[in-house]
């Protein structure tokens, strides 16, 4: 469960980063109005959220008590 959650967070985090970076802000368009605007307002927040999620995974991994218990 913990491992699953951690891995999930890492995966989702990176996915968020990737999506927000490559899709939402369209870096390959260098001219035109489009490049000035993120396709979704707040895409950068999503990106940061991705970064945060990835590192938060470590906290989750360490702090989440193991289901099996001791």
């Amino acid at each position: 469960m913990r491992n699953v959650l951690t891995v999930l967070m890492v995966v989702v985090g990176f996915a968020l980063q990737a999506i927000s970076y490559f899709a939402l802000a369209a870096p390959w368009v260098t001219t035109g109005v489009a490049s000035g605007e993120p396709r979704v307002v707040g895409a950068p927040v999503l990106f940061i959220a991705g970064v945060v999620l990835v590192f938060l995974a470590a906290v989750v991994y360490e702090l989440l008590p193991e289901k099996r218990g001791r």
Binding site: P27, P38, G42, L63
Partner: protein
């Protein structure tokens, strides 16, 4: 986990307010107050209060001391956390005692860098909002703001937090007014072998994740300059590696200085032994050597290109307006190189000499950062604008002093709240 008897002092002088500490904190607070005052003037009058002006017809530099220190603090942060991560990754156990110092330095330096960016913005409040709403990955600044200052700050905090759990748990054994904090921090950490192993695994992967992130982030800072084709002196492929190396130099240098201070004031002579400093010195020596090589490459390229503007810029650096800073920075590098080499060759390491070297490389790094930021603006115009000039205003110095004051204040406060040097293993009863 057994509790200590009441009255047992917390380690490393935590919670004990000494006159020396008060003096330092007082001085730092004065510096901070000064910085706040200077900034409030700037906020009310506008950036006209600084020595910054537009490029071109206004004949100024639009980025100055603030950006210099954004880059510098960013570099220091990089040096600190990279070292901390490398300690984990490479199992440099000898250096473990300064791991936390490195992490702390990173957090503080990043905070200072972020503030330095904000004070440089014409619309800081908007900056806070718009960057989160509209930041564009196409801009090299995207990296600076998002990766460097948020991702990296968050990662360092996580790292600091997780690595500190064990010490928090130890401190929590002693009754004190801060016990709630230690308990909270420890979050039920019992230092069982399982927890230790888990922590080791987590921190290993954290370190694995952090180091490339940091290299990318710091090179990004280099790209802020290096990608500008229209700015002679900036457009260069060495810009990124040179940035990373100089970041390492300044970070390690500052860490040496901090470690020496901590060793004295926190009574950690035994934890922070000569061997720690020897290792750091060796590392610094290597970094300085690599950096000087890159610097030489950069200079040769600049002097050999036919580009008149590049050459004019190089002339301004070597014999013109900036020669003082340039040669001083170079002299500091060489002097610290000599100090380090002498110690390495004779194998007689001395902490005071290392501290001198650490200070010298930091001064030199600041000088070098300044020389990257300013001359390309004032002397690097491709159109025939008159030569520009930039003299930082007193207010700018005050704000920078305030930033340093804030840094000192934060570290000093941390020292009185938490063990700044990782507590030794043996203090933990095995299998508690």
């Amino acid at each position: 986990m057994s509790a200590n008897a009441p009255g047992t002092p917390l380690p490393q002088g935590i919670g004990r307010i000494t006159p020396g500490w008060l003096t330092i904190v007082g001085l730092a607070a004065v510096a901070v107050a000064l910085g706040i005052y200077a900034y409030s003037l700037e906020a009310s009058e506008g950036l006209v209060a600084t020595g910054l002006r537009d490029l071109g017809t206004m004949g100024g530099a639009t980025w100055g001391l603030y950006v210099t220190f954004v880059v510098y603090f960013g570099g220091v942060a990089f040096g600190g956390v990279t070292l901390a991560a490398l300690i984990r990754l490479l199992r440099l156990d000898e250096l473990r005692p300064i791991g936390r110092l490195g992490q702390l330095l990173t957090v503080v330096a990043l905070l200072l860098a972020a503030i330095a960016i904000l004070v440089d913005l014409g619309q800081p409040l908007r900056g806070l909002v718009n960057l989160f709403l509209y930041a564009r990955p196409q801009s090299p600044f995207f990296g600076t703001f998002t990766i460097v200052l948020s991702g990296y700050l968050f990662a360092s905090l996580v790292y600091l937090y997780l690595d500190g759990r064990r010490d928090a748990a130890i401190c929590a054994r002693t009754p004190s007014r801060l016990r709630w904090l230690y308990r909270l921090w420890a979050a039920g950490y019992g230092d069982s072998p399982g927890e230790r192993a888990r922590h080791r695994r987590a921190s290993f992967w954290l370190a694995v994740a952090i180091v490339p992130l940091l290299v990318v982030a710091t090179s990004t800072l280099g790209f802020v300059f290096g990608l500008q084709a229209g700015r002679p002196g900036w457009y260069s492929a060495v810009q990124a590696p040179a940035f990373v190396t100089l970041a390492g130099v300044s970070g390690v240098g500052l860490l040496i200085v901090l470690a020496a201070v901590v060793r004295r004031v926190a009574g950690s002579e035994d934890r922070l032994g000569l061997n720690v400093f020897r290792r750091l010195g060796g590392l610094l020596l290597g970094l300085v050597l690599v950096y000087l090589f890159l610097l030489a490459t950069e200079l040769f390229t600049a002097t050999y290109t036919g580009e008149v503007v590049e050459r004019r810029l190089t002339e301004a650096l070597l014999w013109g307006e900036f020669a003082g800073i340039f040669w001083a920075a170079l002299a500091f590098f060489l002097l610290s190189l000599a100090l380090l080499l002498w110690q390495a060759l004779t194998r007689r390491w001395s902490i005071p000499l290392l501290v001198v070297a650490g200070l010298l490389v930091n001064l030199a790094a600041i000088g070098k950062r300044y020389l990257i930021v300013v001359p390309s603006q004032t002397h690097g115009q491709l159109l025939p604008y008159p030569e520009g000039s930039y003299t930082p205003a007193l207010g700018e110095f005050a704000v920078i002093a305030g930033l340093f004051g804030l840094g000192v204040l934060l570290i000093a406060l941390f020292m009185k709240v938490f063990p700044i040097v990782e507590l030794p293993e043996e203090e933990v009863p095995a299998g508690a």
